[in-house]
């Protein structure tokens, strides 16, 4: 990997971000109903409405509006939330860390479990365990995240009450954090009791999110492993006299890793998309919660802001996964 490749990858993000802005703009202008009607409370005169229109630039031509919109995005000005009367960017940036932490923990859970499943199913191929794991995978895929959330609440919150059901931290305790990344900050500052506390709150929503992804990871990894297993280099490893676990872990796994990593990157976006309902159910204060509130209140600037920030995160994540991919992909290195 050299700086050039890096830079080119970053440049490619520009048209993507432009496309995202365009789609957001078009979609939101398509919503029937006047965004201004939403902002009016009580009785108001046509003059008031006109004033609001001017204030939000809705009196200008559509291309002009788009230009202004682009300019605003470029300068980080995402407007003011109609409902919350606060700067959208600040609002969104405040909730992003919580969601990122949730997503990261969910990814970690699904990676660990997915890898275990796939490895076990490959190792004991043809046995009952394989069919069992395959069935679990299918069930994990068949049940939507929100139902997992409810079932988890029922299981670990009520029937076997061991884990907290809502929120991100215990509200009766006071923690002081200097960033919004509570978990990462506690980890960095080695406050392990807090880490435990945060993880306790994270584990249920993260698991609900992780289950469908886990199934996908297990599926892909398993098929990559099986594919690797019929390759000549695995034959050579067997010829070398290595025991099966060693062949699986040292020789097959590194080769099967690559497609799995790519796929995990792509599915990250679906995972973050899935946070909306899960955050709602677990009262987890993240971007999903914010988006839901924005959507049901038709808070146009907030929806716009959340979407754009989300797309931005996605582009960055994509970039990160690309880096990881080329770091792992020795074949492409020079």
């Amino acid at each position: 990997m050299n700086a050039n490749v890096l830079f080119r990858r970053l440049l490619l993000a520009i048209p993507t971000l432009f496309g995202v802005a365009l789609v957001v703009f078009v979609l939101l202008r398509l919503i029937p109903g006047d965004p201004v009607a939403m902002m009016i409370v009580g009785e108001s005169t046509p003059e008031d409405i006109q004033q609001l229109r001017v204030q939000f630039g809705l009196d200008k031509s559509i291309p002009h509006q788009f230009l202004i919109f682009l300019q605003d995005i470029a300068t980080g000005n995402l407007g003011t939330s109609i409902m919350l009367k606060q700067d959208v960017l600040t609002l969104v940036l405040k909730s992003v860390p919580a969601t990122l932490e949730l997503a990261v923990v969910a990814i970690i859970i699904s990676l660990i479990a997915g890898f275990l499943f796939a490895l076990a199913a490959t190792y004991w191929r043809g046995g009952i365990l394989e069919s069992l794991i395959d069935s679990i995978n299918s069930v994990a895929l068949a049940i939507p995240e929100f139902l997992w959330a409810l079932l988890l609440i029922l299981a670990f919150g009520v029937m076997w009450p061991v884990l907290p059901l809502s929120g991100r931290i215990d509200p009766s305790r006071s923690f002081d954090f200097s960033t919004q990344f509570y978990l990462f900050e506690s980890l960095a500052t080695l406050r392990f009791s807090q880490v435990g506390e945060l993880l306790q709150h994270l584990i249920l929503p993260a698991t609900a999110l992780a289950l469908p992804l886990l199934a996908v990871i297990a599926r892909v990894l398993k098929s990559s492993l099986l594919e690797a297993n019929v390759q000549d280099y695995i034959l050579l490893a067997r010829v070398k006299g290595f025991a099966r676990p060693r062949v699986l872990f040292r020789h097959a796994l590194p080769n099967a890793l690559l497609p799995t990593i790519t796929l995990t990157g792509v599915n990250f976006v679906f995972l973050v998309g899935g946070t909306v309902l899960v955050e709602l159910i677990f009262a987890y204060p993240g971007i999903g919660n914010l988006l839901y509130v924005a959507a049901i209140n038709r808070d146009l600037p907030l929806i716009q802001g959340v979407t754009i920030v989300f797309a931005f995160i996605f582009v960055i994540m994509n970039f990160a996964f690309d880096l990881l991919h080329s770091a792992l992909n020795v074949r492409a290195r020079h």
Binding site: Q231, L236, R238, V239
Partner: protein, 295 residues
């Protein structure tokens, strides 16, 4: 000739899973005898089961393949009766294999160094440093230039000939008693082929290894093998010293094979493919009578 052969395959039958639970025979009562410290050529029709014999000896058969009967005696023990773990202990250390396609035989994500040293560390219990030294030594033995640099590289950065040599280095690393070389020079041009043949021969002589050399190229057999077996439809039609078989082939199939070899020094000789009637006859004999009549 030695009195006790290093490897003796007796009456080996092997089948693979066919459609709807049937089994397709691949090897039909195959017997093979390999003296120690010799290069033994295995030639025959393509699809005749040469690769499968090699895999059966090493016990690395593909999914669905199964030994139905017969025994494989190696160094005084019947391999087919060993438990998988015991058998695995022999692999790499006592017997090894040079796979047909060098580009795919090396693990694409591992450095060359690891691919050579891991087998040394695993079987010889060498420390990392010692293993590295031995690996360097092996790379020099297979005439790799700048072995220090190659050790750090990945397979895709090497040419086919280099990969082939590395696979050979791995096979010889633990100085095994038996190496099965499966068409190690197909798809290489003759100059590279020559280098590799010489290498195998040299290493074989240096370490006193026996080699089962699978190939189509009777020219190669003539130059490097001490003995030869001719395989057809999963049975050995004829075995003998190279000298004898080339001079006086006993089986008509062997004769036909020799007749079909093109020679650049005899441009006007007409190539004689084996007639389909002979092929059908032979096949019928083997499959229906399970016996081989010497012609």
């Amino acid at each position: 000739m030695n009195t006790s052969p290093l490897l003796e395959v007796r009456n080996l039958s092997l089948s693979v899973r066919g459609p709807r639970g049937t089994r397709t025979p691949i090897l039909r009562g195959l017997s093979l005898c390999l003296e120690s410290q010799a290069v033994h050529g295995l030639v025959g029709e393509s699809g005749g089961g040469k690769t499968m014999v090699g895999k059966a000896i090493l016990g690395v058969l593909p999914d669905g393949a199964r030994i139905d009967s017969g025994s494989i005696w190696f160094d005084g023990q019947d391999l087919t009766l060993l438990r998988p773990t015991e058998r695995r202990r022999l692999l790499g250390r006592s017997m090894s294999m040079i796979l047909q396609n060098p580009m795919t035989a090396l693990n694409p994500v591992m450095r060359i160094e690891t691919q050579i040293t891991d087998v040394l560390q695993f079987h010889m219990g060498m420390k990392k440093k010692a293993a590295r030294a031995r690996a360097l030594e092996m790379l020099e033995a297979v005439r790799i230039r700048d072995p220090e640099r190659v050790m750090k590289q990945h397979p895709h950065q090497l040419s086919g000939g280099m990969c082939q040599r590395i696979v050979i280095a791995i096979a010889f690393a633990c100085r095994p008693k038996l190496i099965i070389a499966d068409e190690p020079t197909t798809a290489l041009d003759v100059t590279v082929q020559h280098q590799i043949l010489r290498l195998i021969r040299e290493l074989q002589e240096q370490f006193g290894t026996s080699v089962l050399f699978v190939t189509h190229d009777l020219g190669v057999v003539a130059k490097v093998c001490d003995a030869i077996s001719v395989i057809f439809a999963g049975t050995i039609l004829e075995s003998g010293t190279t000298h004898d078989v080339f001079r006086l082939p006993k089986h008509r199939y062997t004769q036909a094979l020799l007749d079909a070899v093109p020679r650049y020094d005899r441009p006007n000789r007409l190539l004689q493919p084996i007639s389909s009637t002979l092929h059908a006859e032979l096949f019928d004999e083997i499959v229906n009578h399970q016996g081989v009549s010497a012609a």
